[in-house]
Symmetry: C2
């Protein structure tokens, strides 16, 4: 039976994406009973200052709130942290500076999976705060991979509907269409670079390789948490 470091999840951005992350973590552990699972502390905090407003210099930074959440999780006993929100990784350095435990970075884990694929141009299904911070652009460019930006207004409108609880067929079809636009623009793979997106989109709806950043974080987090 595996044993694990206690995990801390800096969550709530949004709450449904955090619940999805926890569910996937449980499945990915693949234990045969309760005691084979890691202990997981979650702070699902939907009151972290808005990432899009902060990126546009129209609101406070989420950095201090994220750092305080990280410290709270470590105080509870967490020995490795992850945050199922791409845009909030624009403030990942605030988290790293606040705690002495490893922080598994969703951008790094998603890019690592992309770079295993023979692709030269990747479509970013993401919101503006992620795009403006160039979280994916710069890492991919450094590896010689070009990017295609989405229709950010359209993607953000769909993410807002998901955050309002709508994951119905209309939203699913519209998100698949946004992915198709990226493919039309030359993307040879798609990154679901917003944790709300896989709530309505999966590989079956995309006709190029589909990298679900959330799942890459689940997988890498369990590797980081594994003791033996």
């Amino acid at each position: 039976m595996n044993s694990w470091r206690p995990i801390g999840i800096i969550g709530g951005m949004g709450p449904a994406a955090t619940a999805d992350f926890l569910s996937r973590l449980v499945v990915a552990v693949g234990a045969t009973g309760d005691s084979g699972h890691p202990r997981v502390f979650v702070d699902s905090n939907p009151h972290v200052p808005d990432r899009t407003s902060a990126r546009a210099a129209m609101g406070p930074s989420p950095g201090p709130a994220l750092a305080a959440m990280a410290q709270g999780l470590v105080a509870q006993g967490a020995e490795v942290l992850a945050m199922p929100c791409n845009a909030a990784h624009g403030w990942a350095d605030d988290i790293r500076a606040a705690v002495p435990v490893p922080f598994v970075d969703i951008v790094a884990t998603a890019v690592a999976v992309v770079l295993k694929k023979p692709v030269r141009k990747v479509g970013l299904l993401a919101i503006g705060a992620t795009l403006d911070a160039r979280l994916y652009h710069d890492r991919l460019a450094a590896a010689g991979v070009a990017t295609v930006d989405p229709d950010r207004a359209a993607v953000e409108a769909l993410v807002a509907r998901i955050k309002a609880g709508d994951s119905g067929a209309d939203v699913r079809d519209a998100m698949a269409q946004q992915a198709a636009f990226l493919v039309d623009a030359g993307a040879e793979a798609i990154i679901a670079a917003c944790t709300e997106i896989p709530l309505v989109l999966d590989a079956a709806a995309v006709n190029v390789p589909f990298v679900d950043a959330t799942q890459t974080l689940v997988d890498a987090l369990l590797i980081a948490a594994l003791l033996h």
Copy 2:
């Protein structure tokens, strides 16, 4: 927009049931965006001493671990607590004694829903630790409602399969059959009195009123957490 007390979830018994609880909580809030949700702290601790062993006096009490989890959640900021595990409610008094905040009791919430129905005899889909502690028997008897016990070995074997990640058609059919046995024995309603059970059974699979204790806890917890 509603505002909420921070919620603490004493979880991990088992981990999939806790993830299911968090997912349902997010859906039940019904907010139109992140900021309409409550802050939720989760301690998913799969290392709480086994409830069945403890009930059989063959292992340590889970009480101290549950009390410590409750204290940790309150230290994080939780102002109302709930625990998505029926059997562990045999040690609910340890939790109540450990913290000064309300603890919403799944047995109380499920029984309250049962008592709104015109039923005289209720089937308990539960494991031995819940049955032996008479968590449901005594409360229902006090209200004049009789109970029917399940084939505990069969239910426990199915719960073990669910805890091992199997929620496939075989487990679903077998759990529905256990519910049907209770109906055959005179049950006029069924309580899913183990938080793994609704992972494989819903009202559509049962031909009498079906009370999902997990959902009653979600609903009552949100009422307890609502500020305005």
